[in-house]
């Protein structure tokens, strides 16, 4: 039920012209509108970073918390009120670097939230240092002789940790991205979409042209329900980069597994029975 507005549009973002975030934002708004979501029942959560400004430019409830800590806040908001559509929009530094531990463990929890990672393989807000997904050899103001660390592979990690919905998107393939976003939001459980995007200011290697040349859409010949094949697909990141749903399986959610949440309605609407305190007091007599 809509309580007034159905549009998710708001004011002008503060990103660099040509930034991949513009497309991702547009796709997100379109996906939410196409799904008929009520803006007042949508909560967009972010940490800190360029991508993490996304909630500011969407007409919805939002929570811009701490760098790296968007997932704990998002899952707890969903635990508090299962009626909210909770979407995390934030960068790869936030999701996989500062928040790496939360990334692993929230896959295990499987709370029904959607995690859109704006992955430009560079740190934008802090002006161009290596991110967890930066390619080896990338020269930055900190990695002056080139990045020597192995790039983090988010889809591979997510599948290994037990995620039930793992996808990759590209900010330049908008119709495709909208479709993936809609599937991710509708998926019952934790859904990860790692979205490749160019950073026009700081990443001169992984540009729009770089991605455009490499990405290809997974078609109906690919079966995302096969885990071992999905691992192989997730490993494909070089001259050719697959985009689409890489892995998908139905899994019981946190709310379905948790004995308190599985019935009884939204947690925040429940009243504590005053008789409970009296009963526990009597046990101590």
């Amino acid at each position: 039920m809509s309580m007034g507005t159905t549009s998710f549009s708001t004011y002008e973002p503060a990103w660099c012209p040509g930034c991949g975030n513009f497309s991702i934002l547009e796709c997100l708004k379109t996906a939410l509108e196409q799904l008929g979501k009520d803006p007042y029942e949508v909560l967009i959560v972010a940490g800190i970073g360029q991508a993490a400004k996304t909630p500011q430019y969407i007409s919805a409830n939002y929570f811009c918390g701490l760098h790296g800590r968007s997932l704990p806040a998002a899952v707890a908001a969903k635990i508090a009120n299962e009626k909210l559509t909770v979407i995390v929009n934030t960068g790869e530094g936030d999701s996989y670097g500062e928040g790496g531990n939360h990334f692993i463990h929230n896959i295990r929890r499987n709370v029904d939230i959607t995690h859109f990672v704006h992955d430009n393989q560079i740190y934008g807000l802090t002006k161009g240092q290596a991110s967890p997904t930066s390619i080896e050899g990338l020269v930055t103001p900190v990695q002056v002789t080139g990045n020597i660390n192995t790039p983090f592979n988010p889809p591979l990690m997510a599948i290994a940790a037990g995620a039930g919905f793992v996808a990759r998107g590209f900010s330049g393939s908008k119709e495709h991205l909208i479709s993936i976003m809609k599937q991710a939001i509708e998926y019952n459980g934790y859904a990860l979409v790692d979205i490749l995007q160019p950073c026009v200011s700081f990443n001169k290697v992984n540009t729009f042209a770089y991605y455009s040349k490499r990405v290809y859409e997974l078609d109906s010949t690919y079966d995302p329900t096969q885990k071992l094949a999905a691992f192989e697909k997730a490993l494909e990141f070089g001259d050719r980069i697959p985009i689409g749903v890489i892995y998908r399986e139905p899994k019981p959610t946190y709310h379905e597994k948790n004995t308190i949440l599985k019935s009884g309605g939204p947690l925040l609407d429940r009243q504590t029975d005053p008789g409970i305190v009296e009963k526990i007091c009597n046990e101590m007599k």
Partner: protein, 556 residues
């Protein structure tokens, strides 16, 4: 003093905990006031652990090392504690112990347990025996045991207790006592119960001694109380979860000790900046870093009062005793919601793990503020609207056709990021303004002792009991000399009563479980009053009433 003091000592894993729990319940049933202190090492097996049970006809507020009896589960206990026992005391132990101490009363508990067919009932034999030694009746054995053991072993445990009871003769006369209607609980249970009474819906934490008991107790009660208890991957997740749940409308809390609190510090600022109610329990243990994991200290006061970068209003409440732990936890939720600030409940291992008999809680006193259900103001709803008292109406996202926002960045009234200088100033002023109203409802410290005094003792938190006992004892020794102020609200620091009471004090002595006198520091900062001298203890063991008395009699 009409009370007895018993020590149960042995290695970790020998069943001290269970024996003490059964015993304190039996003594409570007999009409005593009971006070049980647990001293244990950070290990699962071995080492030396002990529990002190003090019971009698008067309210007991502190532990004591002057013993009437010992239950020694090993020879080490006899060696370590025999000098603390008075001349007429006893040491109850199994025949197999090597001790030749004349106070030893040996019974062959192992053989008796074997004869009953279960070697694990020797604890019940000792419990029965010690009750007889204190002149108690055998009336409540079955009644109490049935809440501790499974029905299949109830009968054998009752038999074991009776066998132990019959194996010895009364050593002390029974004390006459009628404590009336009481309940017995530990500090962590009082806090947990306070949280449940305040309508807690979500508790997230990472296990850390001595705070873990809160999480475990809430988990045990989670189904009947409708609370989601989530064990987080780390303390950073724990506190951010509590903030997320609170933002979304579920009353939330996290708990930890100093090390975990250190990890939560950035999020404390988020609660302050985004004005999201948050209750954090810091159950202190000695630091720095890992320190003494299972022991007690009061060294986090200065830290929690200033933790996190920037400036924002917060409240720190130190818990003084069991009733305080219950009522102040409820108040913490009320203040957090009313002022949309973080409220820190500062407790410590001593209070958390000590159990005591208290009057039944008055559940009619419970009131906790609620977030607004609907927006009823003029014009557009603005989450951070400037107001007279700095408090903006807090709506819950998804509950009305208004947008609810939160930002760790500086933000405008709607909640959008801004760098405008004028907005920054107004928004800082709005948040800080909440302190004015909060200041008016701070609770002054509790004054103990006679109206006429020369020496004023000041303390905070769990030293309340030992200080109260010391003030009473000192005034019997030298009337009209000693009084005390014990703070519960510690930050912001209420100063009115201190300013009034310090006028007639020739000497002011701060008594604290830390090395630097952190309360004295706060007092100096907020009032200019300088404490004359101090009693500071930081060996991980709580100061007792007797220790304070001795030190004051001998001169600090």
């Amino acid at each position: 003093m009409y009370m007895y003091n018993l020590l149960i000592g042995g290695a970790a894993g020998q069943g001290i905990e269970t024996t003490a729990a059964v015993l304190e319940k039996l003594l409570k049933k007999s009409g005593y006031h009971v006070f049980t202190v647990r001293d244990f090492m950070s290990r699962v097996r071995g080492g030396h652990n002990f529990t002190l049970i003090r019971f009698g006809s008067e309210i007991i507020q502190s532990h004591s090392y002057k013993l009437d009896g010992i239950i020694a589960l090993n020879d080490e206990t006899v060696e370590l504690h025999k000098d603390q026992i008075h001349d007429n005391g006893f040491i109850l132990c199994d025949s197999k112990l090597a001790t030749i101490d004349p106070k030893a009363i040996k019974i062959d508990m192992d053989a008796m347990a074997q004869a009953l067919g279960n070697p694990r009932v020797s604890g019940s034999i000792a419990t029965g025996a010690v009750l007889r030694l204190f002149g108690e009746s055998a009336d409540y054995f079955e009644d109490v045991l049935k809440s501790f053991v499974k029905e299949s072993v109830l009968d054998i445990n009752v038999k074991a207790m009776t066998k132990g009871y019959n194996a010895v003769r009364a050593h002390f006369p029974k004390l006459e006592s009628d404590a009336g209607d009481t309940m017995i609980l530990s500090g962590f249970k009082a806090m947990s119960l306070g949280a449940i009474a305040a309508g807690l819906k979500f508790y997230s934490a990472y296990p850390m001694s001595p705070s873990t008991s809160i999480m475990e107790f809430l988990a045990e009660k989670s189904e009947e109380a409708g609370i989601v208890v989530e064990q987080a991957e780390d303390e950073i997740a724990a506190v951010n979860m509590a903030i997320g749940a609170s933002f979304a409308g579920a009353r939330a809390m996290t708990g930890t000790s100093g090390g975990g609190f250190s990890l939560m510090v950035e999020a404390l600022g988020l609660s302050g900046m985004a004005e999201i109610p948050l209750v954090i329990a810091d159950v202190q243990r000695p630091g720095p870093v890992t320190g003494l994991p299972t022991r007690t200290e009061q060294s986090d006061l200065a830290f929690v009062a200033s933790a996190s970068q920037g400036e924002f209003p917060r409240m720190v409440i130190a818990l003084r005793h069991h009733e305080d732990a219950f009522y102040q936890t409820i108040r913490a939720f009320d203040l957090a919601e009313k002022y949309q600030i973080p409220v820190i409940l500062l407790s410590d291992q001593y209070l958390a793990d000590t159990s005591a008999t208290v009057r039944p809680f008055d559940l009619s006193l419970i009131t906790v503020a609620q977030p607004a259900a609907t927006y009823e103001g003029e014009g557009e709803y603005l989450r951070y609207r400037y107001t007279e008292d700095g408090i903006s109406q807090r709506l819950i996202p998804g509950k009305s056709s208004n947008f609810v926002t939160a930002d760790s960045d500086e933000h405008d009234e709607f909640g959008r990021i801004t760098e405008a200088a004028d907005v920054r100033i107004r928004m800082m002023d709005k948040r800080m303004k909440k302190l004015k109203k909060l200041g008016a409802e701070l609770q002054e410290p509790e004054f103990l002792g006679p109206q006429k005094y020369d020496t004023l003792l000041v303390g905070w938190g769990s030293t309340y009991g030992p200080i109260a006992e010391a003030v009473k004892a000192l005034n019997e020794y030298t009337p009209d000399k000693f009084a005390a102020l014990v703070f519960g609200d510690v930050f912001p620091l209420p100063t009115a009563l201190l300013l009034e009471k310090s006028v007639s004090a020739g000497t002011i002595i701060n008594i604290e479980q830390n090395a630097t006198g952190q309360l004295a520091g706060l007092i100096r900062e907020y009032t200019g009053i300088v404490c004359t001298s101090s009693i500071l203890k930081y060996d991980g063991r709580q100061i007792s009433g007797e220790e304070i008395t001795d030190r004051l009699v001998k001169g600090v």
